[in-house]
Amino acid sequence: MSINKHAYQAIEAVVGRNYITDDPADCEGYRSGPGGYESGTGYERVMTKIAGAVVMPRTTEDVQKIVKICGRFGVPFVPYSTGFYGPRSHPHMEHELIIDMKRMRDFEIDEKHFFITVQPGVIYSQIQQECFEKGAYVVIGGGGAQTSAVANLLNDGWSPLSFRVGLPQRRILGMEVVMPDGEIVKMGSLADGDDPFWGEGIGPDLRGIMRGYTGLLGCLGICTRMAIKTLPFQPEIPKPSGISPETALQLDPKRVRWINFTMPSLESIEQAHIMIGNAEIGGAVTKVPVFWRAIAKAECKEDFWDLWLKETEESVSNFFLVRVLLIGYTSEEQMDYDYHVLCDIIEELGGKERRTKPSDESWFKNADSAGMWLMTGSYVSVDYVMDTFTQAFKQGPNYRDLKAKYTPPLMPDCKDLGWFQSCEMGHLGYYEYLIYWDQREDTNGMDQFYVESAKMNIENGCYPALLGAHQPLYLTGPAYGPGYHEWILGLKEVFDPQWICHPPLPLAHDEFVERAEWMHEVKNWETPEEFPYPEKLKENMRLEK
């Protein structure tokens, strides 16, 4: 299948023959699905293709040369760091090149100034341990400790640990990007020297074009180096314990503690989030979906369903648990202060402290996202939103009610509300709605629900994360801004006039709606007669059809 053979040879000369392949078995090994994040979906089946070739560069200069060669020969390419993000980070065209950046794993830590500098092949759990040993910690996104920190920060990046720092993009300092035309743009202090310690631009900040609330999934260039903020931690290094599958980090309760509280109502949970933020204490505040607790208790999938099928709408809607992380950043005395303030708040709201394990299984180093697939085999977060708690707690019931119409194929979840947490010390309320299904079944309903949720948000005036390439751009574009899509398409035209960088993003979901016949019944928005692709891309797409 391969890619243009002149391009292949030229790229082979850049990286050496051991680091490029077009062997069918190798390329098959890079297939997006059928399992994985957002896999087992119509999008994955309709939009993704097997790579024509895979190359593994080592340096920024390698990446630049590869991109320029692709530009010369019209070879579409997609940047790939772990491939965990599912179909949206895999090829969508035939004869496309995967630029697999796992060999790019340089790492430096500046202990004094609380930042690290990494390449895309470095994952969060590696970083976290290095940080622990230097009195710091890093926010590991909900995507999991196995995600590339660079990729995660460019596209997603939220976690309960974001309580103090908030938006993922705030954690990005200087960075280096190979643009789709092969030019290297350095941002932040890297623009004017070799030290990536600071992220703001010279004047307007071009980090603004690399992502919005969520990212552009690699369709506007390849980040090859990024400095990332770490946060000051406390001096006790959490120690791992246990044998798989029961491994956990042991926390010194005098300096780091998770505490669970049962609360009398959903409103009191909302209040707890707001009041704890207002009191400016803590390291994380979150309400997790009830079924996550069943996952944590379950040894296996069957155990999970034994537990979960005992729950009812009533039992779930009457179970209110908030989970708070306290960190003794300053001292044990400060930890005590935080705890007393927290208890004051909980008591005022009628809550009660529950016995909580002095360990962390899920956030500091493991970020247990892999467990999301245990229940049904397929999963995606259909939205993750950050505005205020006012929005968050209104949005949950909207999703819950819409989802009921699409169950099945979606998992019966007793109308559980989803995941809430506090960010930026309660200034922001975060809400995430996760859906699960069995990909062996008819999943058309899942694809439809996904787009219907975007329509629901528009109807209700809610601000979702999944804009840009995640949803049909011509649906969300006119609604938000309004007209944000025109700017994204304009930037695409400016920096990638050939649409060679991960085509056909950012219009991939629009394409999916056109191509998948079961999506036609949900399409009730305007699209242009032809998408604004360059002629060459249009021709290639015609040929592929």
Binding site: P204, G212, P232, Q334, H427, Y463, G477, G481
Partner: protein, 484 residues
């Protein structure tokens, strides 16, 4: 083309003028920037009017220079290619103070005076730069990414959403305010990010070249119930900076800054005579740190911070002596605490005009450990042109637990003395070049600095120009600034 007629048709005759006495206000500002006279000044009162003005400007190819503050510091509002001043002062409404979600939304013409008073009445405050003029527009300072004195919040800046009229005349809301039906939507505009791109980042430090912001929202905090201010004289600045590396990551303090005797004297003195006396008596550098008890158990918070500080001083930094008062200056503690939490009243001469009447700032971002090195450099530069180093104000502002800092030098001069002004121009320029060569990171390219900064950052500049060309193909928005 009758500019006045066209503008009056949009905003009404009362709000457009070509009165020379009004126009002349915009020919210069407190910087050394020289520019041209605008052709008119227009005062829109509604977003739709701003949009119409921008569309008109594109049609007529006339530059627009947005202005929201009555005081201009950096030359950004001085027309470089003629054009029309769009004065946003009528956007002076506070639209909402949301105490539950802790945000405030206000028009770009709202002053520090108005905003801080309104917030105070609700028991709230917004983090702020050091002693901004109270008549200055809050939005301007946050759009310009003025560094705040509060360094304890991991999220850094308080900026949330904005409404902007883009250079093509489109009205756009950034962040979660972009949601349909806003402001009647569940989305409250608290999230600055998105939609799709981080538009707000393109608007910050843009000096009005990427559009005209009409309102913005900021995070607000509760006013602490207890505040204590601490001082430490620093004979050895390096030691003081090491001390900050030790304590600030432990999340100690609300505000923290280091001032040299010149700047501290300027801040505290009532007049020039007192300034000279104080300057002579103050230590070379003073560390100023506030610790606060918040809305719950305030005494306990103060206690744990003080215990920590005592511990560190006793065991690690015995030479740092923190006191609740400024030794030798009774009453300075209360005065400074007030200065740190309020804007500078317009009735009083601005503190930076106390020494000699006028001033020029030079500031950049760096690693705190490099501050002594940059100060030595400044000594050298001053010495080269015989400028008295001991008359330069020095202000180090730690940022986010001291992961970085802003270092600011202030050159004071007599505005009525041409020679004095020329000397400052000269030393300022040399100093800028020297600091830049040494790796000082200048994120706010005002005036002359822009050319050198953008030349050196060639790849960034090229990309930035492409973005600008997309948003403003006719380059009507404040041309001649940055690299545009």
């Amino acid at each position: 083309m009758d500019i006045l007629k066209d503008l009056a048709a949009i905003v009404g005759t009362e709000f457009a003028t070509q009165d020379p006495s009004v126009l002349s206000d915009y020919v210069s500002d407190l910087s050394f920037t020289e520019g041209s006279r605008p052709e008119a000044v227009v005062f829109p009162g509604k977003t739709e009017e701003v949009s119409s003005i921008v569309r008109w400007a594109n049609e007529k190819n006339i530059p627009l220079i947005p202005v929201s503050s009555p005081i201009h510091l950096y030359g950004t509002t001085v027309p470089k290619q003629g054009g029309v001043i769009v004065n946003m002062k009528r956007f002076d409404e506070i639209y909402e103070i949301d105490k539950v979600n802790r945000l405030v939304r206000f028009g770009v013409g709202v002053s520090w005076e108005k905003l801080t008073a309104a917030l105070k009445a609700e028991g709230m405050r917004v983090i702020m730069p050091l002693a901004p003029r109270e008549e200055r527009a809050v939005a301007t300072d946050h759009l310009e990414r003025e560094v705040t004195t509060s360094m304890v919040y991991d999220y850094g800046e308080p900026t949330q959403s904005m409404e902007v009229v883009f250079p093509n005349g489109d009205v756009f809301r950034t962040g979660s305010a972009s949601a349909p039906k806003y402001p009647y939507s569940p989305a409250r505009g608290a999230n600055p990010a998105g939609p799709g791109l981080d538009f707000y980042r393109l608007l910050q430090c843009a000096q009005g070249t990427m559009g005209i912001v009409t309102w913005m929202s900021l995070k607000i905090q509760s006013i602490p119930l207890i505040d204590k201010i601490k001082f430490a004289p620093l004979d050895d600045l390096g030691e003081g900076i090491s001390y900050l590396y030790r304590i600030l990551p432990r999340r100690i303090g609300q505000e923290c800054l280091i001032l040299n005797r010149v700047d501290l004297a300027a801040l505290l003195a009532e007049d020039t005579a007192e300034f000279e006396k104080m300057r002579g008596r103050l230590p070379e550098y003073t560390l100023i740190l506030t610790i606060s008890g918040l809305i719950r158990r305030p005494e306990e918070k103060i206690a744990y911070e003080e215990h920590f500080l005592e511990d560190v001083m006793k065991n690690e930094f015995p030479q740092i002596v923190l006191t609740d008062y400024l030794p030798g200056f009774p009453g300075a503690d209360k005065k400074l605490m007030n200065i740190l939490r309020t804007a500078w009243p317009k009735e009083r001469p601005y503190w930076k005009s106390v020494p000699k009447g006028a001033y020029q700032d030079l500031f950049f971002i760096t690693r705190p450990e490099r501050v002594p090195e940059f100060i030595e450099r400044m000594k050298h530069v001053a010495g080269e042109i015989s400028y008295p180093f001991d008359e330069i104000g020095i202000y180090e502002q730690p940022i986010e637990h001291n992961r970085a800092c802003q270092l600011q030098f202030t050159f004071y001069y007599d505005p009525d003395c041409e020679e004095s002004a020329d000397t400052v121009k000269s030393v300022w320029k040399k100093a800028f070049e020297s600091m830049h060569d040494a790796g000082g990171y200048f994120t706010r390219p005002y005036g002359e600095t822009a050319e050198r900064l953008y030349d050196r950052a060639a790849s960034y500049t090229a990309a930035l120009k492409k973005v600008k060309a997309l948003f403003d193909p006719n380059n009507v928005m404040n041309p001649g600034n940055l690299c545009f």
